[in-house]
């Protein structure tokens, strides 16, 4: 992971070589800044941040020199726990570079890589859910639903291929769970109260339309079960 090597290694370069810095690498610096650079690196970081010129100079070849490798190994100790993962990587990379002994092309290619923001384990489900919702929204846009909306849902049923089943009712609750966000519709059908839970982003649902809205002061309208059937009747 040279892209991780370089932000750490770069701060060790003497100032006259800072100019040759890759603007893309500056992203690494800004991330570095957010982590709080040590006083050792602070001044150099600010200088290089202003430079936006892109040079593949032979200056970059200096990375292969052994001097900087020595500094790379000494500096991680000075840095107060920037990133525990990066330190062993730095050392391993440093050894590899020393072994290669000054291959300029390798170092010149690596600065080209854009710095990718790290995806943390805790974010993955959120990202996957967002992607799935976007994919479903492309096929069929879903309106904003809240408790108290009177909606009409058109559902495709495998048996009834010609006609879409229509379900009308009041939304009595909405459970947010990413792609499995569900709404509960209540209605009096043929004299009997019926509650149906629909997954909002299901591909079977061909249309959701908000017909009306009733002012409610609650997120879950379970009290409608005990009230008069008149309040759950929708024509």
């Amino acid at each position: 992971m040279a892209s991780q090597l370089f932000p750490q290694a770069l701060h060790m370069i003497p100032i006259n070589q800072v100019k040759s810095f890759n603007p893309v690498k500056n992203l690494g610096f800004s991330a570095f800044l957010s982590r709080g650079p040590s006083p050792l690196t602070a001044s150099k970081v600010s200088v290089s941040g202003t430079h936006l010129k892109f040079h593949f100079g032979s200056d970059l070849g200096c990375f292969a020199r052994r001097d900087f490798i020595v500094r790379a190994e000494s500096n991680p100790e000075a840095e107060a726990n920037e990133n525990g993962v990066e330190e062993p990587e730095t050392k391993a990379e440093a050894e590899v570079e020393a072994g290669e002994g000054g291959e300029d092309e390798v170092e010149e290619e690596k600065p080209k890589e854009p710095y990718k923001p790290r995806v943390k384990l805790g974010d993955i489900m959120g990202i996957l859910n967002k992607r799935a919702i976007e994919a479903s929204d492309k096929e069929r846009p879903t309106p904003d639903l809240r408790a108290g909306d009177i909606v009409e849902i058109k559902l495709e049923v495998p048996e009834n291929k010609r006609r879409l089943s229509v379900y009308k009712g009041i939304v009595i609750s909405k459970q947010n769970a990413g792609i499995h966000t569900t709404i509960r519709i209540r209605r009096i059908i043929a004299g009997i109260g019926v509650e149906i839970v629909f997954p909002v982003y299901s591909p079977n649902i061909k249309e959701i339309k908000v017909v009306k809205h009733r002012k409610v002061r609650r997120a879950r309208l379970y009290y409608l079960r005990d009230k008069l059937p008149r309040l759950s009747t929708f024509k």
């Binding site: 499995h180 149906i196 839970v197 997954p199």
Partner: protein, 122 residues
């Protein structure tokens, strides 16, 4: 989740008004009946001057439960009451009309007559 001693409404015009489940048909020691299961029930209340009378033991099929019915597409259906339709030994309804919405699952369980008489199929 209908079990023995459960009182159910009757969803047809067979003459019974209220049933009490006394047995769930299926495996021995079967605990609960859901929508589409056949039960043995006793008539607790009946409409006067009809063929069915109080304390008669008959078979019925569950058509509405307060316990949710889950479908593979993620839909969940829940009724406000528990109800059954009185049937004979073959599975044909004794009444001529059905009241209330019926779930589609009954068609797969060969209660096609009930589904066709239903005012609304969910």
């Amino acid at each position: 989740m209908i079990q023995p001693q459960t009182h159910l409404n009757v969803a047809d015009n067979s003459g019974a008004r209220e049933l009490m489940c006394i047995r769930v048909i299926g495996a021995s020691n079967r605990r609960y009946a859901h929508i589409g299961d056949v039960i043995v029930a006793v008539i607790k209340e009946a409409v006067p001057n009809t063929p069915l009378e109080r304390s008669e033991v008959i078979r019925a099929v569950i058509v509405r439960t307060s316990k949710e019915l889950k479908r593979d597409n993620g839909m969940i259906i829940r009724y406000d009451d528990n109800a059954a339709v009185v049937i004979d030994q073959e599975g044909n309804p004794k009444g001529t009309r059905i009241f209330g919405a019926i779930a589609r699952e009954l068609r797969q369980l060969n209660f096609t007559k009930i589904v066709s008489l239903a005012p609304e199929v969910l």
